[in-house]
Symmetry: C2
Subunit: 496 residues, 2 copies
């Protein structure tokens, strides 16, 4: 039974977070990076007990959890490194020009204020309580209030304890991090509409993310909501590639579609190609491959039920045919990975088939002409990823179509499969609506910090009272733009 944190308690925590923000605003990037590295150490030191608890709560295999834990530790460390490098403070200095009556202007980025984080069920470490949203918000200089995901409450508590241990060890205000528990919709809504909350980060369903987005925009002072809400991650397969590699592509596709029982937000749920012998070979290989998928539990019973329900809605649509199916879950023996096929006109005219089914489910759309493929690309909603399965020649033959696909996603792959999201600077995990609420930001990679900062300019401010990032002698030795040119030195001022 999960305890519902009371409104009084939530209010108290929001108040403490506001106080902690005043403290955090005056920390340097180095101090925040040290804090983040200490959190990484703390999580890294959590032993077998954590893995056992999380395995029991999520059914995720221990090997996967071991990897995800390492990734989570790596997130804290790599974001800390980026924060310490001063990348997200982005200092800009335009020196005074007294002869032109122009004053001294210095701008940098500060934390936006208290951030509420709603974790995801499918990544109990990397996208949850101590996940990327929490790490990037603290890196930006923002206190964090986590609403724990009710599917893994014990895991969430262990992670919250790890962060709080570091808060205590550093002697920082306790309001820097708060852990709220509960299952009610009202708790999330209450947090989002509170006037002292300045941003929200969410990973989950379209319904949940859009509800928070709407609440945030109806506030007297609207705030940004960064919701990652899922995607069907289309694969567009072109003719030359399909001819030479139909079987290999089918194996790759099946492996990606069923990886982690299909519970990845970059799961490739849609495959689009021209009809013909090559596509038949691809489909025939899928039929064989699905039988090799090892059954495993889904995250929890609710997800299994939702998967079966939404999958069956898709299967029951007219002009749809099951081409591959096998029992791939162990819980109750009810979960069947399935792939259906349909034709382009059916897909284009039935919006049900464009909705995400969270789990191992895919649709192969068989197109009569390249114009139908173009029409699907044109009609496509925003996606986290799009994969172009093609040869160089295919790309050359389809430049206009590929250019159009750029408008529909955050990450464009040339072959390979979209599952597997590297935590690096060049990652973009975020795409046009409805895959996320704001395609201008990523929730993976150090650039995730950008979501939680805003610029402030100081005009003619005395050096003594400027933040370290903007002082004349550049004590943090970071790269700054001075009069339009990048510069890592201290300022050579003509006046004394």
């Amino acid at each position: 039974m999960i305890e519902e944190t009371s409104k009084e308690n939530i209010d108290k925590r929001i108040q403490r977070a506001a106080e902690a923000f005043q403290f955090l605003k005056n920390t340097t990037i180095n101090e925040r990076a040290e804090f983040m590295n200490a959190v990484a150490d703390q999580i890294e030191a959590l032993g077998e007990e954590l893995l056992a608890v999380t395995h029991a709560e999520t059914s995720l295999p221990l090997a996967r959890l071991t990897g995800e834990k390492a990734r989570t530790v790596g997130q804290w460390r790599s974001y800390a490194k980026a924060v310490a490098a001063g990348i997200y403070t982005e200092p800009r200095i335009d020196l005074a020009q007294p002869e032109k009556q122009k004053g001294d202007l210095r701008k940098y980025h500060v934390g936006i204020g208290t951030v509420v984080v709603f974790g995801a069920s499918n990544f109990p470490f990397a996208f949850s309580t101590a996940g990327g949203d929490t790490a990037s918000a603290i890196g930006a200089g923002c206190p964090v209030i986590v609403k724990a995901h009710p599917a893994h409450p014990k895991t969430s508590q262990i992670m919250a304890d790890a962060i709080n241990t570091v808060v205590t060890a550093f002697g920082w205000p306790e309001g820097i991090f708060s852990h709220i528990t509960g299952t009610s919709y009202e708790t999330g809504a209450y947090l989002t509409q509170h006037s002292d909350i300045q941003a929200v980060a969410f990973t989950g369903s379209l319904q949940g993310g859009k509800a928070l987005f709407d609440i945030a925009n109806r506030r007297e002072n609207p705030i940004p909501v960064f919701a990652e809400m899922g995607s069907i991650n289309p694969v567009f397969a072109f003719q030359n590639l399909l001819e030479t590699k139909a079987e290999i592509l089918a194996k790759e596709y099946m492996a990606s579609l069923t990886l982690g029982v299909g519970q990845f937000c970059t799961n490739p749920g849609l495959f689009i190609a021209l009809k013909g012998n090559s596509l038949d070979r691809f489909i025939n290989t899928l039929k064989d491959e699905i039988l090799n998928v090892a059954p495993a539990n889904m995250l929890h019973k609710g997800i299994l039920e939702s998967f079966e329900k939404h999958k069956n809605i898709a299967i029951e649509q007219p002009n749809v045919e099951i081409i591959a199916s096998a029992n791939t879950t162990t819980e109750d023996g009810q979960g069947h990975a399935s792939i259906i096929k349909t034709n382009a006109q059916t897909f284009l005219n039935n919006p049900v088939l464009s909705e995400e089914v969270f789990g191992p489910f895919g649709i192969v759309v068989v197109c009569e002409t390249i114009d139908e493929i173009r029409e699907i690309a044109h009609q496509l909603k925003g996606q986290l990823t799009i994969t172009v399965a093609a040869t160089d020649e295919d790309l050359r033959d389809n430049l206009t179509l590929v250019s159009l696909l750029k408008d529909k996603c955050g990450r464009l792959l040339f072959n390979g499969m979209p599952t597997g999201v590297e935590v690096v600077y060049a990652m973009q995990h975020g795409g046009p609506f409805p895959s996320t609420t704001d395609s201008r930001f990523t929730s993976v990679g150090p650039d995730a910090v950008k979501r939680f900062v805003r610029p402030i300019s100081f005009q003619n401010w005395p050096d003594e009272f400027l933040p370290e990032e903007l002082k004349n002698d550049n004590p943090l030795q970071i790269s700054r733009m001075v009069d339009g040119e990048m510069n890592s030195g201290s300022l050579k001022l003509q006046t004394t």
Copy 2:
């Protein structure tokens, strides 16, 4: 009489803009910079006729318009330089690590799509048809549809013609720039809710900006709205400064408050200080200074009427006293610059007194204690600017209060006055709601380009098909982050 562009015509222009976006997406930063410099040349070449037309439409003095025209030309050129430097494409490359099974990832920023610009009446050049929003959107790679401000239709048409001349000269698709005219609310709403529009930039009233923001967020695919909606730009005067400089400060304040008949968004409409002899000296100087203000017309009759109406609403509030007033407009002899005073408790408890009165109107809030000043700071809504009139010692004595003020504005001044917005990198023209809808961005300075880009990642994409910004040999010779380090060279790849 202003012609209302028909819905059919608007639809056609949106369609053309979508086509132009596919073209713009494949232009290089150098090509867009050349285009922007050509627009600057074209506007610069517009002679006395432009100034005469705009003077007739806006009543703004020729000297001011000459300066604003130069500023507008300067905006196009400085944004072009920043675009050509590749700052806003922000390339990030993480090379493949085959031994770790990590692919090659390359991210950069592309234009977000078609942008609708609503210009302001108070800056017919710099914040209107060919103003900073249009320049920064085109710099980002976005087609622009301008909804002309009905207060200066001829000026708007001359500017639109200037841009279109360059579009034709470059042989670029005409959809890159469109000029829509009309006075109806429906036209603006129609543009904002059209599914092919990807962002909106607006400068004007809170009512107008918030209406567009709400429309944009209610769309099936919500889009960002960058609305700059005004501000009362408080001046917090501290004791030591006030004691030594009450008279000088009063002169500066009066000059800033009545500059351009008070029609600047950074007009300092609020002055907060402790009661006492120094503040009395400040107020007495205001009484004298207001008599020296040279009368001038406001922008148009509607603005004069609105000024008088809202000023009188403020004056009629309880516990309010006029301390300085003089006729400062020539039109109908009705416009009186006015300054009122009230006490802190009245100001704190009457929200009417915190509303912007667009024009030469100010409120002096006389505080009994520093706690009352702190309470005002705490209750303050978001502002474009806050000015701290202080000595170093005052700052030292009020660190907590000054830290709080940082949360309430985009630009913090140490003495001086906030009117005068430099077009430089370190400028932040944008603050917490309701001064703007998005405090994370500026509408002045080259960084304004950031509003209209979004990142896209390419995974394992063949070099031939990558954008110039991300190719191995770095043909644009821009600074890029490669494996976490900044680098202006070409990539040294180990494989051939």
